[in-house]
Structure formats: structure tokens, C-alpha cells
């Protein structure tokens, strides 16, 4: 991805380069919820398909208009069909978003669990401030 480019040199004080392993870790965490994300992407694909089909229908309508087809029923049916796909698009979009939110909250939970577990296994000096870890 674009943002995987080499981190730039520091320009201001402090640490301002992105850790090059960022995406590796994201993939690792998101990979744990592959199934949920997969289903979400599948629904999103149906949603996008439903959003694109009307373009073909419109093209068909325009073609018929040019050819001089004057049957009103034909056009009404096409319009109805477009409306139907328009609804389908939003239905699948919502399903996909819901699934994806569900998966994402799980990923965030996984990230947090991993971070907390990691902190517990770090040398105490790395977590500096006094009150967080007082080991008996």
C-alpha cells in the first residue's frame, strides 16, 4: 500500500516516523477475524454489484429511447428494477457494515489484549511510571 513507503527522515524533535511493521501487525490482528471480515466483504461486493447494475439498465433505457421504443411499460419496469437494486445496495451495504463493525471491535479487543499481555512480559523499566505496575 502507498503508506508502506520508507519512513521519512525526522524533521522535528521527537519520534515521528511510522513503525515499518505497522501493517504487518494490523494484518496479523485482522487475520484473526478473517471469517467475519470475509463475510462482510462478500456482502459489500453484492452491495457494489447492486449499485452498478442500474448503470447497465440506464444504458439499456437510453438505447431503447434512441431506437424509438415507445412502450411506457418497458420503461416503468426498468425504473422499478433500478429502484429494487437501489434498495438491495443499501441493504447489503448495511449488513456488510454491521458485520465489519462487529469484526473490528473484536480486532480492537484482540489488539488491546495483546498489548496488555505484552506489557506484562516487558521488563519493568520499559513501563516507567510508578503506579501502574507494582509487583509484589
Amino acid at each position: 500500500m502507498e503508506n508502506q513507503k520508507k519512513p521519512p527522515e525526522n524533521t522535528a524533535s521527537g519520534k515521528n516516523t511510522v513503525n515499518p511493521n505497522a501493517m504487518k501487525w494490523l494484518m496479523k490482528f485482522a487475520g484473526g477475524r478473517k471469517g467475519q471480515f470475509g463475510l462482510s466483504v462478500f456482502c459489500a461486493l453484492i452491495g457494489v454489484a447492486a449499485s452498478l447494475i442500474p448503470y447497465f439498465i440506464i444504458a439499456d433505457i437510453v438505447k431503447n429511447l434512441i431506437d424509438g421504443n415507445k412502450a411506457a411499460d418497458f420503461y416503468w419496469n426498468k425504473c422499478l428494477l433500478i429502484g429494487l437494486f437501489w434498495i438491495l445496495r443499501y441493504v447489503f451495504h448495511s449488513i456488510s457494515t454491521t458485520l465489519s463493525h462487529h469484526a473490528t471491535f473484536n480486532v480492537l479487543a484482540d489488539i488491546r489484549k495483546a498489548l496488555l499481555a505484552k506489557i506484562a512480559s516487558l521488563p519493568l523499566g520499559t513501563v516507567s511510571a510508578g503506579t501502574v505496575f507494582r509487583i509484589l
Binding site: 522535528a12 511493521n21 434512441i66 498489548l115 505484552k118 516487558l122 511510571a129 503506579t131 509487583i135 509484589l136
Partner: protein
Amino acid sequence: MQEQSSGSYKNTICERVDSIETTLAHIVPEFTSNICGAIVIFIYMLTVDWRVTLWSLIAVVLGFAAFAVMMSSMPKWFPQTVVKSKILNDTAVEYINGIEVIKAFGQSKTSYGKFVKAAQEGADCFIDWMRSQNFWQNFGMASFPATLLGMLPAGVHFMMNGSLTQADMILLIILSFGVMTPLIIAFGYTDDISMISIIMGEVADIMDKEDLKRPEKSKGLPADNSIELSDVHFAYKEKEILHGVNMQIKPGTINALVGPSGSGKSTIAKLIASLWDVNSGSIRIGNTDLRDISLSDMGKYIAYVSQENYLFNLSVMDNIRIGNSSATDEEVMNAAKQCGCHDFIMQLENGYQTICGGAGGHLSGGERQRIAIARAMLKNAPIVILDEATSYTDPESEAVIQSALSRLIQGKTVLMIAHRLSTVSDCDCIYVIQDGNVAAAGTHEELLRDCMLYKNMWNAHISVKDNEEVPA
């Protein structure tokens, strides 16, 4: 070893991670599906008429180029805004936390000036970023969807020479809008992807840190309760604090580390407690290297009591039980009695079931200290490390704490660090630590005789003590 404050860990784990939820949830399905949708339409367009379709790409190429320029400068600007915002936050926090000092010493002008400067730099950073992107942003936005730019002239040309039908041309024009909509949606997420990568970078910073290396299962267990340090070097960040410390602590003895502040005595205690690892040399307990003992086994051997003891937001009973989670209520109370906690706990509103609150807000420093000692008592580890365990307590509770400690350390191998030399003068062996080395070791009498530094410290201690005892 890069140090981060516990505040910044909390910030990453709670707020920063949270902030990527919306974006991440939308990106995964929408980015993929929209890109796929665009590709499918594009392929279909190619089958209708590949020549016109390719011509339509001129605009897309221009748009991509503009976005690529913007993306490439993103890693340069965004982290800067993060840094500048952080400086602004820190300055504001400092100003507010230090307001008393600022007012008392008439520093409001300079401190306020510092804040204004930070705010200005923060704003400038964003403005400069926006300004540098302005042209490319507009150029990209304008050219990206302009598929007709290449398509119309080409289409008209092919229609004129008869190689393209009117119907196909209309289909292509309409589909070209269809191909752009999902692409525009998809590329709307590029900023967000950068943001996610920065936040995941913070996560990666933590995940990539080096662990305290301990085996899952101990490779060996201590044969007895002796502690042996041989040629221990330890550096905190770049600065070496311990320069080859050698110590031999016999099982069942009471030992003390004394020395000027900053001499490294507390570091030695923390290394033995396995809170850090040595850089070179080794620490052995009962002839087994610490690094061969799993953390859970390690916990059974060492109890570490420090000056600050955190009480969890649990009942007093459960807070003491942290020392040994399988202890019965009776055992907990027994430990509390031995540490002089029982009486004050019974006076709390709900006795042992009183919730201590965050850092033990209800209880005084001395009471918290005694609870911590009760924890250690309940744990019943054969080695006890007392890291300035009595230094902050008020004189009244000190006597109680001393007697609690003396019960805690009965029959144990003890290593204590104390300010007050009188509390360590009975020890079996006292180690005088100076500048990260053991300067001398021996009993109180031996050291008074042989060690100049100890003698000076003792004399200073005695004179302070005399002053304390003079009635006011």
C-alpha cells in the same frame, strides 16, 4: 530500551486504538468491494470497446499522479502534526499543573508565551500542510472523474469512421460514470489508511519491544535460598549504572544495601526481583540463573516490598489475597494480624470487605504499607526484598511496621535497602554500594572500622537522629 510513560501506554491502548474503529470497519469491506466493482466495470468496458476505454484512462492517470504526490508527502506531514499536537498538549498540561508556581513567581507571561508559541506552531503545521497540498488536491479532484476528457474525442472519431456504434458509445459513457463512483469512494479512504498505519505503528512499537526473556517452564529450580551476583553489569538506556557487582548472600541471613542515593542499590534489588535483566554477568538464586526460572516460579521465591505499594480497587481482603490467591479468609486475616493491620481494618466501615479505591485512597501511607507487608507475609516466599519499605512512613506507624517486618522476615533470606542506618545495623551483612560497585561489605562493626564511607554515613545519620530527638 525506549522508555514510555504509563500515560502514553494507556493512551495507545485506550484512546488511540479506539480511534481507528470506524475507519477500519468501513475500509475493509468498502475499499475492497469498490475497487473490485470498478475493475469489473472496467473489464466489461474493455469488452465493449477497448480503444475508447483506454482513452478514458487519460484522466484517471492524471488523477492518480496528483494523489500519488499527496500520498507521498503524507508521511512527512502527518507525524509532524502529531508531534506538534503533542507538544501543544504537554505545554497546556504543564501550564495548568504548574499554575500555582507560575502565579506565585509571576511567571505567567513567559509560560503563557510558551503556550502561545506551541499553539501557533501547531496551527502553522496544519496550515502549511494544507497549503502544500492545495494544488494537487484540486487538480486530482478535478481530473480524476473527467473520463470524458479522453473518451469523447476518441469515441467521436471511431464513430465517424464507423468502427463504433452509437449504442455502444452511449453504454460506454454511462458506464464511465459507473466506474468512477466506486473509485472515488475507495480513494476517499486513503487519508484514513495513513492514519491507521500511524496508530498501528504505535501498537507495533509496543509489540516489537524486547521481552524480559524467561522460559515458560523453569530449566532448573533453586537448590537453596542463597543469592549470588557475579560481575553484574546493568545499563539503563545508555548509562551504565552497575559496573560489575559481586555479592554472595547466604541463605537465611539478613542483608542490607546502603549507599548514597543514585549509587545503584535499588537497581540491584530490582534486578534480583527479576523486574529487569542484567546486561552481562549473572544473578543466581540457589545456584540457578534467574534467566532459567519461569516468571511464575520466580514469584514463589521472591517477595518484593517497595515504598509505594499499589492497592487495587478491590476489598482489603482481596488486596491482601493478591499475595496468594488460594489463601482462605482466615489465612488472610492471620497475615493481617501479624502485620498489625487487623485493628485498623476492623475499624473501616465494612471491615475486610471495604473497597480500597484506586490507589488505596481511604488508607494512610503507613496502613497501605502494612497491607503490602501482609501480602508478602501471605505469599510466604523464602526470599524477601525490602526496597526502602519504611522510608515514607510516619514515626508512629514505623514502630508497627518494623515489628510487622521483623515477623515477615523470620527465617527468610532478606535483602533490605534503607535510609536509616539504625534499622540495618543488626544485619548479618551490610553491603556499601558506591557508584555502581560494592565498596565494602561486612557487619556494622567491621564497616565502622574499615570503611570510611560507611563511617561518614553513620556519623551523619547519628547526628540527624540526635537532632530529631531534641524536643522542639
